[in-house]
Symmetry: C3
Subunit: 457 residues, 3 copies
């Protein structure tokens, strides 16, 4: 099933080796331990009270959240995409590859934009979380093009997307002073619209020839549920991972927990309501039930209250199912956007909802917002901050769409080995694929020989 | 395979929407951040020493445990029940739905019973853990009725069970002063006997018509092992999640770790010993190996010692396998209790064992018990506390059985859309189910056409 | 498929019961809570400042790492080995059994060697981590003999291996003063070469008769990826779990994170490059991508820098894939080493690489090494410490190989019920195995009756 154009024997190794060697060189030149990971600096920094220094290392505030985020990136995103019947190896495997690349590249890009220290990038657990966040954005875009791109295309896409993500993040967080701890804008909206534009540019008029593989089978849907449930469970850690220590981290996790719970109920309700026979659709459950996490990504750290979070999650679930049911087919037919995982419904629209909720919460709920510096937005008026949040959404959409446009055209270069329209959603193009279960083959053989016996008798 | 009575198109959406809207309204009226999640309160509370306040937020003591418990609830319980060959979607999916509902409802019920603050329920990470605990009890009952109930029945059951759970928990923990950190009584005994009584009331004389689906296939047993292993690994976090900070949390986790390890060896031994050909039975491994966690749910926080924990776990494994092998068939035949997952063997008997171990440990081992206030039982005599623990078991059994009786009759109302006796354990009643693996279908097609060719030649 | 010799009905229960009862007795005689788990000791120890004592309990520094390690042991190792098409029950199930036994036995052996306190072994979260580490070593050896040993053989192997592991660990850590926080030598090198020697002694000349089962099917490879990804994600916790609190734990986790990321890219590159059609091989992805974690097991806590870690990971991935592709077939043909999981490529060679990197880092990079006592190696000269590290590798290899030789011969005793050469890699020898999927059987039945109809017409 492989022809010369999709053979990766030279393309993939060369891409991986060159990129990794560049990464290693740049790390050697630019990267240093920060004061919490460097033995000399950490001891010096806390030389007054050795007794308490260890517990105050940022590691103990953030490492459990980091590991939860890490699980979301590698198990959550990876297995969520295994719903395709013949693309499980690629879903988990390419997710693994591009995430491992992206987190290294993101460390450099984010370090570069978010402030060098004497020409050096200082890293620790917070930069590891941010690198994973940026990686998450790339994986959202991967969801839009899933099954239709070669691993080399994905590596190239990741390289550009990490860069543009970091530019956008820098503009929002450092220049505009936007609040977006859980990344409704920087991660979800950016990743979704970037990926949607890429898949638009890569439009395949004859994709229907691979249609019979663009769906799930019974067990592939169960594997996908592993991804869904891990994303759902650890989303409170995701949204709270880089908020301020203390009450902010605590509050963000709790708001997200209730938003997701409410979202789950509205997703199930809508999935059943929109089916002519009332049967639940796994696509909705696997995706829409997560929209509540996306939608409180900006406002979760604010004094949104569980009440507010539940309303947001409730709406997010409804919007997401409606998107899968009615909007996605229109986007594909009219706008020629072939969105394999429906990232527009899980990350796109809920991301925009999250941005709007964040802007409204920042501007209207001043009395509810806490008094410490970070949450009064660095001394700004609440209404001004609300405006900033709205502007940030527009900036994010702009950079994502223009970036996706350019990167989409780059990915069309034939050298990257994209699959043909007839071989999309097919692992065997890029993987050694073993046979089906021995048991079945034996049964089939048994059937055959039994029938043959009858014929011969 | 759906007829009008089991069609969920209106029943499920209406149930979910009404319940969620009620929840949102009650959260808006009743729920507030506690002092560790509210920005103003947290800063005010610790205004003397800002430097140390963040690390003392309860979040850092409990959030890692919370996430482990969360994994047990959604992955552990959810996947444990995927062992059925055609009920994987419902096992994971209904587990997800009723858990998302229960944790919200439990927040309100537990908050209401465990003390309002000026008319308000104050919530934080500890209340989130307690809500997950209550949810666990509902999921245990779900295991007893698995495959024989519609999602609407499950939602109604969850609503009543959460309420009764909270009443029982209030009587034990707040009125009687019972110690039950890991919930041998409040969670496991309650959930098991409530569920057993519900399944007794819902007795199906013709369930044998669905018998061919009431069993596992090779891969469904592997999915179930994901659930088992996660429950097993994180049970130390479960039992220690709401104990006192410091040594109590540490000790409880360790006692549970050794109890489970001993339980695993006795479960394997008994599974092999009770099979005529010595072959291990997946049902035992998936369930009995966990009984050690249940059985130290009460005494785990006490000075039970690893030695004592291992004895308890060892016995729990033996009892549990014997239950699956010899007691469950009797319960089904004589008492008409159709217990799909065998919750009596994993949660029922080990829960009672745990309650008894707790009573004995509290009453006899005074010298082994620590001297701080909480573990000398608020200044009570050890023997008195032992009596209280025994009374608590009786109260729990009473409320569970009477509650299950009433709720069982409520669930018999035909409006809830229960499956027929011939369509139990079947996903396609409530879910859009995709076909089997493409590969097989292709092979089957190949077989067919090959045979046809022969016939035609 | 069972004959009398492999029937486990008496052998397995007797082994489990005797071992567990011995364990319980020894725990009763020898084991005590340490000062962080004992209520009286912990309160007494910190009686000066009650306010801070709880947060300083070692539990809060190490328990999240412990749980990550625990997941690696039970899910990571367990599911990694489910790649075999008909050995999933045994892979997860025997992994579960021997791990539950090993962690109890390791608690005693490590406690005995690492210092008794007044004739008692004191235990807490750090000893739990160390017990899990020792268990990991046994599971590595299990990977070498996977599919070719009975559960009783595995229990006997575990009993001896835990003992020898503890001897070797004692010589290295306590006598020589070796640094090996992540266990490149003590865990990986030891486990791999011990297991390789055992499988050499158990050489099966007619193993080709089971060859058709010694491979994966599509879904078994996806189950294995669950194991791989969990090992990969949590390896930073593994390597940092028992390092010093504070910057050391932080630095080790970070170094491991970057080493693994670099290793993933080189593994993918080499897998594609060494395939004639450029297709990726799941065996490489499942294993080689993890070698980067093994290879920084010794040097990860030192001031290796992310730059150095990435170089090490990069090389480890290359070596590991080359080992799978070219060395393993030679080892099997020439040296008669039948290494089912290829542990030589994942743990053996990368473990040696890690030991060498550790020795070099310790000896050459003095200026990069931190100034606190532990990392200047207890006041030793860096070059001297480098020599010690090299000697430690030799000691480890010696004990592993001689130990494996002796234990291999013990395991050859026919009483342990090893499978025949024709029944290796087969679950049904030791497990009740359910049929394949109902759906398929129904389809097959449908095919059959359809054909019969044609024949009869």
């Amino acid at each position: 099933m492989t022809d010369s154009s999709t053979n990766m024997r030279l393309k993939l190794p060369i891409t991986c080796f060159i990129l990794e060697i560049i990464l290693i060189i740049l790390f050697g030149v630019l990267v240093e331990y920060d004061e919490d990971t460097d033995a000399k600096k950490f001891n010096k920094h806390f030389n007054t009270s050795m007794e308490h220094s260890d517990a105050e290392n940022d590691f103990y505030y953030r490492y459990p959240s980091f590991q939860d985020v890490h699980v979301m990136i590698f198990i959550g995103f990876g297995f969520l995409m295994t719903f395709l019947q013949r693309y499980g190896f690629s879903s988990v495997g390419f997710n693994f590859l591009i995430a491992a690349f992206s987190l290294q590249w993101a460390t450099l890009m984010q370090g570069f934009f978010h402030g060098m220290h004497g020409g050096k990038i200082h890293i620790g657990v917070e930069s590891m979380i941010n690198a994973d966040f940026c990686t998450g954005s790339v994986l959202i875009s991967f969801g839009a093009v899933l099954g239709k791109t070669s691993p080399v295309q994905l590596m190239i896409m990741a390289m550009f997307e990490v860069t543009l993500f970091s530019v956008n993040e820098f503009i929002l967080l450092s220049i505009l002073g936007t609040r977006d701890a859980g990344g409704s804008m920087t991660i979800h909206t950016f990743g979704a619209y970037f990926g949607l534009m890429v898949t638009r540019i890569l439009y395949r008029p004859n994709l229907h020839k691979s249609k019979h593989r663009n769906g799930s089978v019974y067990h592939s849907d169960l594997f996908a549920m592993i991804g869904t449930i891990y994303l759902w469970m650890f989303w409170p850690s995701f949204n709270s991972a880089v908020t301020e220590h203390g009450d902010a981290q605590h509050r963000t996790a709790m708001n997200t927990y209730y938003s997701l719970a409410a979202c789950t109920l509205s997703s199930y309700a809508m999935s059943s309501l929109t089916a002519h026979d009332g049967k639940l659709d796994m696509v909705h459950i696997q995706n829409a039930a997560l929209a509540g996490g996306v939608a409180v990504g900006t406002a979760g750290e604010m004094m949104l209250t569980p009440f507010g979070s539940m309303i947001v999650g409730f709406l997010a679930g409804i919007i997401s199912v409606l998107g899968f049911k009615y909007l996605s087919p229109i986007l594909e037919e009219k706008l020629k956007i072939q969105d394999t995982c429906g990232v527009h419904n899980l990350h796109g629209m809920p991301g925009i909802l999250g941005a709007i909720v964040g802007a409204v919460t920042a501007s209207l709920l001043q009395s509810l917002n806490p008094t410490n510096n970070n949450l009064t937005f660095y001394g700004r008026e609440a209404s001004y901050q609300g405006g900033i949040q709205a502007v940030s959404l527009a900036v994010t959409l702009g950079i994502a769409l223009i970036g996706g446009l350019i990167v989409g055209f780059i990915l069309k270069l034939p050298v990257f080995g994209a699959p043909h329209d007839t071989t999309c959603y097919e692992d065997s193009l890029y993987w050694e694929v073993p046979g089906e279960e021995a048991g079945h083959e034996e049964q089939l053989t048994a059937v055959k020989s039994e029938e043959s016996d009858k014929l011969n008798s």
